[in-house]
């Protein structure tokens, strides 16, 4: 008996520790300071914290199948750097594969907490300084000023295929004679070879350097250049040159992208949803606990304690994993909270039956537990299956967030049922054999009418 009591006390102490970990000291007042100070903070989804979720579709048509993965991760890197440059705190950039069956699409997910100006956000991500080199067409050099004004860019220049894709690095340099700022660029091996070939075959011609489709400078090729290096000497101001270097380095997106989905939640709506979710969770817990205590009395209190342990464990897991909490996720948690009680109810109902059959309380607890376990296992399995399928075939991130929390909740509920509920019931249901104990372990509104007690009394 003492052994059981000690293990129950240990369990409670452990649960207290977990609950303390799950509890957020300054969580009530200041979101921001909490997020920054706690070592294991709760991670809130954008629908609760406010911000923008963008989905870009990558156009991979021009890439070979083997190149796609590399290009996509390069894309993610570039976008991430660009987002960081604009000072968004804790942005998320990730590559995702999607698409209908048999048609894989490559996407980039960008989450920007706190950003609600979609247009600005899209501009800062999507604006690519496209760099390319074009040769002046034969005959175009001799155009008159008027002809030149009328001609389109394509009339004058011929694309060479050498673009920002082959750029390895750009640096800010200064012209040794004029001290004017210039931008030095270095190609990668492939680009260097192409550059060497172009310069070799076109000595004496003008090579236009284009940024975002307009020519910056058109130096004349004097000889073959094999050093993989070139210098762009436009009439730059220092700041312009700096910006260009930055954009070239962090700039060129390796894969063209287009925006296919935007979701923006304003900070006030997010905060409102967060408090509504927390309130709903808290009141749901109180309501369920009241019901349990009213209906099951002492076991109801045990179930409530088990429920508190369940909540503490779940919250601790949310922090540790960490789980990004969204409205849908919290809804899943509230749902699992209602369902978590199920295991306890199964055990109690079984226990009562055993009591009715005339078993002594300790045996009734044990038997009730033993017999309920199969049902608990089988019935929870179906919910776990649903959660797993929902998670893997999630149609939207919302659904995935729900499935994760829900599935986790069901698993944790089974765990608390076999650990917490059992230990606690064994510890308090040990010796009592009086009518009162039986009354407190009975249930239902009118105890006198409880057939379990009558038949047990008759047996005596």
């Amino acid at each position: 008996m003492w052994k059981k009591r000690v293990s129950a006390l240990l369990l409670l102490a452990l649960a207290f520790g977990v609950a303390y970990f799950a509890y957020d000291k300054n969580g009530k007042t200041d979101e921001v300071s909490r997020l920054e100070t706690s070592r294991f903070p709760y991670k809130l989804g954008l629908d609760l914290s406010g911000g923008t979720h963008l989905v870009f579709q990558a156009d991979t048509a021009s890439l070979a199948a083997g190149e796609i993965a590399d290009s996509m991760s390069a894309l993610a890197e570039v976008v991430e750097r660009r987002v960081n440059l604009f000072g968004v705190s804790e942005p998320l950039v990730q590559v995702e594969e999607g698409g209908t069956v048999g048609n894989t699409e490559h996407r980039l997910i960008v989450e920007l907490p706190g950003v609600t100006d979609v247009r600005q956000a899209v501009e800062m991500i999507g604006k690519t300084p496209t760099l390319d080199f074009r040769l002046v067409r034969a005959g175009a050099e001799n155009m008159t000023e008027e002809e030149r004004a009328l001609a389109t860019v394509d009339d004058v220049f011929l694309p060479t295929g050498l673009t920002g894709r082959y750029l390895k690095h750009a640096t800010l340099q200064f012209d040794p004679t004029t001290y004017a700022p210039v931008v030095g660029i270095e190609f990668n091996d492939e680009g260097g070879a192409l550059f060497a070939k172009i310069t070799k075959e076109n000595v004496g011609k003008a090579l236009g350097i284009f940024l975002d489709g307009s020519p910056i400078s058109t130096p004349v090729i004097r000889q073959e250049i094999t050093s993989k290096e070139a210098v762009i000497s436009g009439d730059f101001k220092l700041e312009e040159a700096k910006t260009l270097v930055r954009n070239l380095n962090y700039g060129a997106l390796p894969v063209p992208i287009s925006l296919v989905s935007t979701q923006t939640v304003g900070a006030t709506l997010g905060e409102g949803a967060l408090y509504a979710s927390i309130n709903a969770g808290f009141i749901a817990f109180i309501a369920v606990a009241l019901f349990l205590i009213f209906w099951y009395r002492v076991p109801g209190i045990v179930a409530t304690v088990a429920l508190v342990i369940y909540i503490a464990l779940n919250l601790a897991l949310f922090k540790l994993i960490p789980v990004t909490l969204t409205s849908a996720g919290i809804a899943g948690f509230i749902l699992s909270l209602g369902m978590a009680v199920d295991a306890n109810i199964l055990i109690f109902e079984r226990m009562k039956e055993e009591l009715r059959r005339g078993l002594a309380l300790p045996e009734a607890v044990k038997e009730g537990f033993h017999r309920a376990w199969l049902s608990i296992r089988d019935s929870n399995s179906s919910s776990i299956i649903t959660a797993v399928i929902l998670y893997y075939f999630a149609s939207t991130p919302v659904v995935r967030g729900f499935a994760l929390v829900f599935g986790l909740g069901v698993i944790v509920s089974m765990f608390t049922a076999i650990t917490a509920s059992r230990t606690l019931l064994m510890a308090i249901g040990g010796k009592g054999e009086s009518q009162t104990t039986r009354f407190f372990f009975g249930s239902g509104a009118g105890s006198g009418m409880n057939p379990g007690i009558n038949s047990a009394a008759a047996k005596k």
Partner: protein, 303 residues
């Protein structure tokens, strides 16, 4: 025993509800939200008391050539605008039109989903529904593989599926009705709710079937030779309180979510409430009595 004896009455009630739901679904249908068909949704809020007339806003928006769109009042001083997919530039233009005449409209949320993503979400939803159904049939068949007397295990699974269809069709019908009356749209969370109902209902049905399984074994061991009807009736009685109580605690939690939870999950909670009530009803009044009905059919065919 009451339930098994009067099973025809309970069947009739369910059949009536299912017919009504199917009628609602075929007449009005479910209204797909932007999750599935693509499009944009802008929700703005005005300072209290400064709510502009919808006509003014519509006149403003008409200048943008948005194509088909709708404006609906929401909350205490908000507007919800649904349009086709908006580019970031068009989105900004819409916001300017909404803030007309010095009344600043604060944007609360903006969702825009391309038609391709919508189609994909729809397809994925179907896949998950089908996968869940298959998994549940397999699971029940597996769980009841040892019980083949007097009703074979795949029939347990089949009955569970009948109960599942019942539980899913009824909330869908209610949503078709609400879509017609109040413009409720179905989104991916709606499908999720249906799948959760599937899991929950099976969970409930399994507990009763499990009792039937145990009582059958008990009967065999003690050579009591009770009728199958009696065994099922007893099993229902024994699990009745548990079924109702579990559903009650879940309903209490979800009901609180519906009442004071965030707007985003309100329809989700409503779907769950309807589905869980239907699911509890079906596992008590439909699932297990159907076992008896199937058993009687078998007996009749043997003769």
């Amino acid at each position: 025993m009451f339930i098994v004896r009067h099973r025809k009455f309970f069947y009739a009630l369910s059949v009536l509800l299912v017919i009504l739901a199917v009628l609602a679904l075929s007449v009005w249908g479910l209204k797909p939200g932007i999750d599935f068909k693509g499009g944009s949704l802008v929700e703005v809020e005005y300072p209290l008391g400064a709510w502009p007339a919808i006509e003014t806003i519509k006149a403003n928006l008409d200048s943008l050539n948005l194509g088909a769109y709708s404006v609906r009042e929401t909350g205490q001083s908000g507007l919800l605008v649904r349009t086709g997919e908006l580019s970031p530039e068009m989105h900004e233009a819409v916001l300017i039109e909404l803030s007309d005449k010095g009344i600043r409209a604060e944007e609360k949320r903006f969702n825009s989903i391309g038609p391709v993503l919508g189609r994909e979400a729809l397809q994925k939803s179907w896949i998950s529904v089908i996968m869940v159904l298959i998994a549940i049939v397999l699971f029940i068949t597996f769980a009841f593989r040892k019980v083949s007397e007097p009703v074979s295990s795949w029939k347990y699974a089949l009955i569970a599926i009948v109960a599942l269809i019942h539980d899913v069709v009824i909330p869908s019908g209610v949503f078709a009705f609400l879509g017609f009356v109040a413009g409720f749209e179905t989104d991916t969370l709606f499908v999720t709710a249906l799948l959760v109902i599937l899991g929950f209902s099976v969970h409930d049905t399994i507990v009763v079937f499990d009792r039937v399984r145990e009582n059958l074994r008990h009967d065999k061991e003690n050579k009591q030779k009770k009728s199958f009807e009696n065994i099922v009736g007893e099993s229902i009685n024994q699990t009745f309180v548990r079924s109702v109580n579990t559903s009650l605690t879940t309903l209490i939690a979800i009901f609180v979510l519906y009442l004071i939870g965030p707007e985003a999950t309100r329809h989700f909670a409503l779907t769950l409430i309807i589905g869980i009530v239907a699911g509890t009803y079906s596992s008590i009044f439909i699932g297990s009595p159907l076992l008896v009905t199937v058993y009687k059919w078998q007996e009749r065919q043997k003769k």
